[in-house]
């Protein structure tokens, strides 16, 4: 018995080390890609920042769809809430410190997450999807109606964020915005890695696989999902705020069904239920879209469609899921 507990504590520490190493690798990969983006594409930073903001939305979607199994086509409501929250704070209340704007965005996103969660979790499957669609349309209409606050369909302009910590101005090349975004992404990623592996994350995965079992274990399904929705709202809100800060404008498109659907497509493309999948899906989709739409602004949609079909046919678990499965198989063949 003593032996056993001894080896157990041993494995606890070695486990922890292995996990930390893996996380460190993940963070380093993101940072390396971030630096590579900065060095290799110094003229594309605006696009890269936009990818970063959307990546936060897709990560946030992964939390509820990938980890909890909630189907939603209305997740942009959380993103838009963050964007408008930060934008309105800056344009109407003079809160122009980027970190403060970010905080407002996170809070606005969390509240939107709570509301969405309460409504969406009422049903399952298709009706759930429809509830989420209803939410995004209502949010879109509400923002359109409240044009005094949101600028309506003309978009909310006049967002002039201060320099970050009073030092780094937002410049034409978008360098500050890019670094701000990458730092935000890395911090979020580290926090989310913790959360998805925590007991809470395990509970969520359990709920996705079998909510009846979770109830039979005395777990609260609804309460857990609502909490995850709030976290998801915070992440999406951060993405929205980043978008508002970096582009200095917020449009109704940030509260649109289109953006929600695109986010879902990116997530499934990358692979659900994995943070890496969410990131990979976002980068692949947006980069691909940018390249083909620049190459042929008139008919690129067909090529994107073909890409989606190809992914379903040849990488049914999503890009990351299929890659991981491939390496797992190879690893087993030659250990």
């Amino acid at each position: 018995m003593a032996m056993l507990s001894n080896s157990d504590t041993l494995s606890v520490t070695s486990d922890r080390r292995a996990r930390l190493t893996r996380d460190a690798v993940g963070v380093l990969v993101i940072l390396a890609l971030g630096v590579a983006g900065y060095v290799l594409f110094p003229n594309n930073l605006a696009l890269l920042t936009r990818i970063t903001a959307i990546a936060l939305l897709v990560l946030s979607l992964d939390l509820v769809t990938g980890y909890c199994g909630v189907a939603t086509l209305g997740h942009a409501a959380l993103f838009g809430a963050g964007a408008y929250g930060a934008g309105i704070a800056a344009a109407h209340f003079g809160i122009t410190d980027p970190v403060a704007m970010l905080a407002v965005g996170i809070i606005a996103g969390s509240i939107a997450g709570l509301i969405s969660g309460v409504v969406v979790l009422r049903a399952h499957g298709l009706p759930q999807l429809v509830l989420s669609i209803a939410i995004i349309h209502l949010a879109h209409e509400a923002a359109n109606k409240a044009s005094g606050w949101t600028g309506g369909s003309d978009g909310l302009s006049g967002i002039m964020p201060d320099a970050v910590f009073g030092v780094w101005q937002f410049d034409l090349w978008g360098r500050t915005a890019y670094v701000f975004g990458i730092v935000l992404l890395v911090v979020t990623f580290v926090l989310l890695r913790q959360i998805v592996r925590s007991p809470f994350g395990m509970l969520c995965r359990g709920i996705r696989q079998d909510p009846v079992r979770i109830r039979a274990m005395g777990g609260s399904v609804h309460g857990t999902l609502i909490r995850m929705y709030i976290i998801s709202g915070a992440v999406a809100g951060a993405g929205g705020a980043l978008n508002a800060i970096s582009t200095q404008v917020v449009g109704l498109d940030s509260l649109s069904f289109t953006l929600s659907a695109e986010a879902l497509v990116m997530l499934v493309l990358g692979g659900t239920g994995s943070l890496y999948g969410a990131l990979l899906g976002t980068v692949t989709f947006l980069w691909f879209e940018d390249v083909v739409s620049a190459a042929n602004p008139f008919h690129w949609l067909t090529i994107v469609g073909a890409l989606l079909i190809a992914v379903v046919l040849f990488a049914p678990k999503g890009l990351y899921g299929s890659l991981a499965a491939y390496f797992e198989r190879r690893g087993r063949k030659n250990p």
């Binding site: 157990d8 606890v12 809470f200 395990m202 079992r213 109830r215 005395g218």
Partner: protein, 254 residues
């Protein structure tokens, strides 16, 4: 000894159909009771009523002296009424270690923790490991459930229930679908259940029933027609009638 589990006059109708009529059943800590009955006797409905998945039209369910009739399933689990499933319900993408850890954390109200890992909690890891060892599946602790054999999944199902430290345990055909070679393991595990635990087992396999139960309850057509010792049950006229009758019915249908 006072009853830990006490069901009084439970009644449930679906539309005009009475599926459970005036069922009463009481158990004390340490009781080993088997619930048997022909197909369609209302056993499943009874389990669902007891666990709180459906609400009765009349009657009450008492747990440790408290009325839990109106409480939901989660709340009943938290008060010590735990069930296992006839067909395993496990998380196919998770490992036994994670399953058991989740159950332990759930029991202790720590499952909402966000910034910690169960692997960094020595107490949880040790309790989980002990539990899995006791059921002989510790060596599988880090395999995915989808990769382990069905008999071992049944054992995990059982260990999940135990990890919740129940006061009353409902075992729904714990050996169903298990290959012959593994039944002994499961029976052993059941025999080793804590002695102060009240266990109600729903089972078809009469051999298992006779080895396990000190008391047998027979449910037929939604009513309890027998409640007594295993010896007496085979001799009871109404029980024979219920079983043979249904056998005859089954013949005529086929």
């Amino acid at each position: 000894m006072s009853a830990i589990f006490d069901v009084r006059n439970l009644k449930k109708t679906f539309g005009g159909l009475v599926v459970t009529n005036d069922v009463s059943l009481s158990m004390a800590p340490g009781d080993r009771v088997a619930l048997i009955g022909p197909n369609g006797a209302g056993k499943t409905t009874f389990v669902n009523l007891v666990t709180g998945n459906i609400l009765p039209n009349a009657g009450s369910v008492m747990l440790g002296g408290q009325d839990v009739t109106r409480l939901g399933p989660t709340e009943r689990v938290r008060r010590g009424l735990v069930r296992s499933f006839q067909v395993t319900r496990l998380f196919s993408e998770m490992t036994p270690e994670e399953h058991v850890a989740l159950a332990i954390l759930q029991r202790e109200g720590r499952s909402g923790k966000m910034f910690a890992s169960h692997r960094a909690m020595p107490d949880v890891m040790e309790e989980g490991h002990t539990l899995l060892s006791r059921l002989g599946i510790a060596h599988l602790a880090r395999h995915r459930v989808s990769e382990i054999a069905y008999g071992q999944q049944r054992l995990l199902e059982l260990s999940l229930a135990l990890a919740l430290k129940p006061k009353v345990l409902l075992l729904d055909e714990p050996a169903a679908g298990v290959p012959q070679s593994d039944t002994a393991r499961i029976e052993q595990a059941i025999a080793d259940l804590p002695s102060d635990l009240a266990v109600l087992m729903i089972e078809h396999d009469m051999d298992l029933v006779f080895r396990f139960a000190k008391r047998v309850v027979v449910l037929a057509a939604g009513e309890i027609i027998f409640d007594g010792s295993p010896d007496a049950v085979t001799k009871d006229v109404r029980v024979r009638q219920a079983y043979l009758g249904s056998y005859a019915d089954a013949r005529s249908v086929a």
